[in-house]
Symmetry: C2
Subunit: 220 residues, 2 copies
DNA sequence: GTCTATATGTAGATAGAC
DNA sequence: GTCTATCTACATATAGAC
């Protein structure tokens, strides 16, 4: 799958400010449309209309549909990783953290970013798409696996004796649960009508922390 | 989204045996192709080629793409629910079961069906697609929610004092983790290279059971 | 860099012979 | 019921004027 923008190879000069704004508008629109309709369900035309740009402009700045998708995923990945790693450092500052604090360091930054910012909620849907679709495995490996390794390593240190496979499995389960809450809180509402959603994040963290501890000793 | 087959309204007579076989071949092919490429990524032509049928035949038996998808989801839903409810009855036979037994009754039947049967593994991908995409909410509500209600009710009985919202949230987290393992065990392999996958199901059940108990008291 | 126009392929659906 | 041929729409992508 081609994901490199053509201009990466032969960029002649720095783009103008207006060009950068256009590029941002295109990426913002792509983020919304990919989040709403998935990769195959989205069309360049949808994105162009959403951005208020002509179709050709989306191609020019995006470098093709797959490359455009890859760019939207990459754009916020570093900020997300940085926030998570900073939270982990904070948790580690006073000696070995508890499992719950490590899980919180991974999850809370994403929810804080998503709270009140539609763009990060849309981005969460992109992350869920990438995680669920083997076609984007390379993208996931590039942008998400390094941080995952750090957290898995930290969790392994806190659950001595647990095989790495058990910790990795628990981490994958936890990420799935996190993405479910980030992208479809409505599903919980359907099964528990009328209740408020305050506290779901705390429930998620408690769920995953307890699960990681219990899973570390199971299945061997 | 239209999901009713035209012949539902004016079926003149029972279909011949050959027609039924054709219909089954079409549904089998649709299941494979939808599982591999998603709803938007799949095409009627892919399905026709996979089934060894002409394109028109797929339209005739499927009643359109959306209806065909709905049929593939519906086809195995009752068998899955029945297996789960039977397992729950077995667990309940000797007094109140433990949370872990209830989680196992929900999850084990699906893994047992998927083990060694590619069609059920493909079906798991369809279930994951339906769960993640709001567009299929009605389909999920029709085929999966009733069983979910039964299990949530049982779990609520076993965690007295927990608000229903907490139990429902835990159930959604557990289902997400289950679908992650059913549909992309390879993701665990990436993060824990070389290790075998024996025991992941036990880890999943331990993870979710502990998470449900811990989540029941959190977030309030 | 931007935008119009267009090239080329393929999608879902259907009509009508057999 | 089956299968061929076709309709209509829209997809991605690009060429080239400005």
């Amino acid at each position: 799958m081609v994901t490199g923008h053509p201009s990466d190879r032969a960029r002649k000069r720095a783009p103008s400010r207006r060009a950068l704004e256009t590029r941002d508008r295109v990426l913002d629109a792509a983020e919304r449309v990919f989040a709403a309709r998935g990769f195959d369900g989205a069309t360049i035309r949808d994105i162009a209309a959403e951005a208020g740009e002509p179709v050709g402009s989306v191609h020019h700045h995006g470098g093709g549909k797959a490359c455009l998708f890859a760019q939207t995923v990459a754009r916020r990945a570093e900020a997300l990783s940085a926030a998570r790693l900073a939270a982990l450092e904070t948790a580690r500052a006073e000696g070995p953290p508890r499992v719950e604090a490590v899980v919180g360091a991974f999850m809370r930054p994403f929810f804080e970013l998503a709270e009140g910012d539609r763009r990060w909620r849309d981005y969460a849907r992109l992350v869920a798409l990438v995680s669920a679709d083997a076609r984007w495995r390379d993208l996931a490996a590039e942008w998400f696996d390094p941080t995952a390794e750090v957290f898995i390593g930290e969790l392994a240190r806190l659950t001595p004796g647990a095989p790495r496979r058990a910790v990795a499995a628990g981490f994958v389960f936890a990420v799935s649960a996190m993405l479910a809450l980030l992208t479809s809180a409505g599903r919980i509402e359907t099964l528990a009508p009328g209740a408020a959603d305050e506290g779901d994040l705390e429930r998620l963290i408690a769920f995953c922390a307890a699960g990681l501890v219990a899973g570390a000793g199971a299945g061997d």
